[in-house]
């Protein structure tokens, strides 16, 4: 019981700290970095559903992100619909696209699937760049709400508002994944990842479960895309259907620890600041050292700690980060705690 109480208290303190940060940290750039951390953490969690739990690595997740951004924005410009509704509409559209992509691609094993998602991502970006209805390469400006009725448009005067929205969404995303993890869907995902043939012998329709994973993942990505559109106020295929975004999302999840709930949060907390601050420190003169650090870090983590930072955390601090697994009653865990 002490363990339980301790983590509740710690959680409460952590939450209070997080809520108070914008009051203390008031410069826009650090606030921006924090917002990006939350959004990428959430996207990493979404990616994890397919890549970590169900074991299918996707390099095309930007498709869903961009779908959300465009659906939200176009509903605003063409039908004056609030982005709060637009976000969910975007999620539904993205889930539909996920259904198509999954239906076509899930029969492909591992590497083939990864490459197929990459190609789909590239294709979508190319087509979007030519598609006049959605603004083609020029992009779309998100209508600015001069009255900052944030409850309607999710546009805030200062970044602090976005901070809280992003934090709220991250919390919702964590809750969602926690629920998935402890229920049938999560158990089936882990079974599929563990041993697909054995899973089939227990009645699991692998194809269908993977579709569910991808659809939920797509929905979450699209919601983030919708929020992002309100944050940057301008979207175009180059930025929201960007292959580099797909890769960053995958790296956040893998670096943090694919298959664990908190992993992507850790991954984002490390990768995003690294990204943002090194390019500021070393200058955008293209010296490339920030990327070098990035690349080396990924190699090192992959070689020495394939479980990612979450795995490292586990090894150092015990089973605290792992909400996916029952507390082990083995000598191992006892010795660690």
């Amino acid at each position: 019981m002490p363990f339980r109480n301790r983590s509740v208290v710690l959680g409460g303190v952590g939450l209070a700290v997080l809520l108070a940060i914008p009051l203390v940290v008031t410069q826009p750039h650090p606030q921006h970095v924090l917002i990006m951390i939350f959004l990428y953490a959430l996207m990493g969690i979404a990616w994890n559903l397919v890549g970590g739990y169900a074991g299918q690595v996707s390099f095309g997740h930007a498709v869903f992100f961009g779908t959300g951004a465009y659906t939200t924005t176009l509903l605003m410009t063409k039908a004056k619909i609030s982005p709060i509704i637009g976000m969910f509409a975007g999620g539904v559209v993205a889930a539909g696209i996920a259904l198509i992509i999954g239906w076509g691609c899930f029969r492909l094993a591992g590497h083939y699937f990864a490459i197929a998602t990459f190609t789909v991502g590239q294709m979508v970006q190319i087509i979007a760049t030519q598609w006049k209805y959605i603004g083609a390469a020029v992009g779309v400006y998100v209508p600015l709400d001069r009255q900052y009725q944030w409850w309607l448009t999710l546009q805030f005067k200062s970044k602090a508002g976005f901070y809280y929205v992003a934090l709220l969404l991250l919390g919702a995303g964590l809750w969602l994944c926690w629920q998935i993890g402890r229920n049938r869907l999560g158990a089936y995902f882990r079974a599929i990842k563990g041993d697909p043939e054995a899973a089939r012998s227990l009645g699991i329709d692998i194809f269908r479960q993977k579709l569910y994973a991808l659809m939920i993942s797509a929905f979450v990505m699209a919601v983030v895309g919708g929020v992002f559109a309100q944050y940057v106020l301008f979207i175009d295929p180059a930025s929201v259907f960007d292959g580099a975004l797909s890769i960053k999302v995958a790296l956040v999840a893998v670096l943090g620890g694919a298959g664990s709930l908190w992993g992507p949060v850790l991954g984002a907390a490390v990768l995003i600041p690294l990204n943002e601050y090194t390019s500021v420190m070393l200058g955008s003169s293209g010296s490339g050292l920030d990327l070098l650090l990035y690349g080396v870090l990924i190699v090192v983590v992959s070689v020495y700690q394939p479980d990612g930072l979450a795995g490292l955390w586990d090894r150092l601090f015990g089973a605290r980060g792992r909400i996916l697994r029952e507390k082990k009653v083995t000598a191992d865990a006892a010795a660690r705690s």
Partner: protein, 288 residues
């Protein structure tokens, strides 16, 4: 007039197809032998191109002359990368294998940025330059040489894999590592050889391309993407598949670019790929 345009497009497509095939060869070989997809493949090509460039800029070597040098250095790089990095993730989950090569690609790209800056570089005064003209068709001479070189190299590799003992050992390892080990084949050594050959082939391709292509740190991205699609189309692990797929992709890219739209040509390449893979998930001639 469209007859000439068509022929031009076809020849140009085949030319590039041969080059794509050579680039894809290394990727498919590494996968065939050890089930690892090298996501840094395009970036290694970039490295090869820079090596050729350096040989030209500082040693005044013509890229064509430098082919053995570049190939040799890339071969060694392959062995080093295998021995010190790839070897350690052989037993790791496949996610780690994917990300490690990714990280390598990013690191090399950043290194190129750092050493050479983002400027577009070009080899100066290559031996082969200019154009070849016949029957109203114009082809770049270096491109033609590159294509011929690529085909020769592909044939050489194919001969090597099928007719030499080392090649047979590689095939044995590719088909069944445990059995190969039981036959006394040092699997670890041949994994290294596979990487060496894979990057060595890139070395040849890089030197051939350096003859006429602009070199910059991100040049690997598009070639890498095409290589993946080529290998997946041809079937992971199949050399003949890589050749056939390379030619197909070269043709599609060229014809789509000329007759439909230059901006959409890659969309066509990708959709052909998706179509084939949808019907035949293992690619045209996939083994695994």
């Amino acid at each position: 007039m469209t007859g000439v345009v068509l022929t031009q497009a076809i020849l140009s497509g085949l030319l590039w197809g041969a080059i794509f095939a050579l680039i894809a060869l290394g990727l498919t070989m590494i996968f065939g032998v050890m089930d690892i997809v090298n996501f840094a493949h395009g970036d290694f090509l970039m490295v090869a191109m820079y090596v050729a460039y350096t040989a030209n800029a500082y040693l005044r070597m013509d890229p064509l002359l430098a082919i053995p040098l570049v190939a040799g250095l890339m071969y060694l790089l392959g062995i080093v990368v295998y021995r010190y990095i790839i070897k350690r993730v052989l037993e790791a989950p496949s996610v780690a294998q994917i990300t490690v090569t990714f990280g390598l690609g990013i690191a090399f790209r950043a290194l190129a940025h750092f050493v050479f800056s983002a400027d577009y570089r070009q080899v100066q005064h290559p031996w082969v330059e200019g154009r070849v003209q016949f029957a109203g068709i114009v082809l770049g001479a270096p491109e033609l040489v590159a294509a011929v070189g690529a085909l020769l190299m592909t044939a050489l590799l194919y001969w090597f894999i099928t007719k030499t003992e080392t090649g047979w050992a590689l095939q044995a390892v590719a088909q069944n590592k445990q059995a190969a080990a039981l036959m006394g084949i040092n699997v670890d050594r041949f994994f290294g050889v596979a990487w060496g050959l894979g990057l060595g082939a890139l070395g040849v391709a890089g030197a051939l391309l350096a003859n006429f292509y602009y070199i910059h740190p991100d040049v690997g991205a598009i070639f890498g993407g095409i290589a993946f699609v080529t290998v997946a189309l041809g079937g992971f692990g199949s050399i003949q598949g890589a050749l056939v797929a390379g030619l197909i992709i070269g043709l599609v890219e060229s014809l789509a670019g000329v007759f439909i739209s230059p901006q959409l040509k890659y969309a066509f390449v990708f959709s052909i790929y998706l179509l084939v893979v949808f019907i035949r998930p293992k690619g045209l001639m996939g083994t695994t």
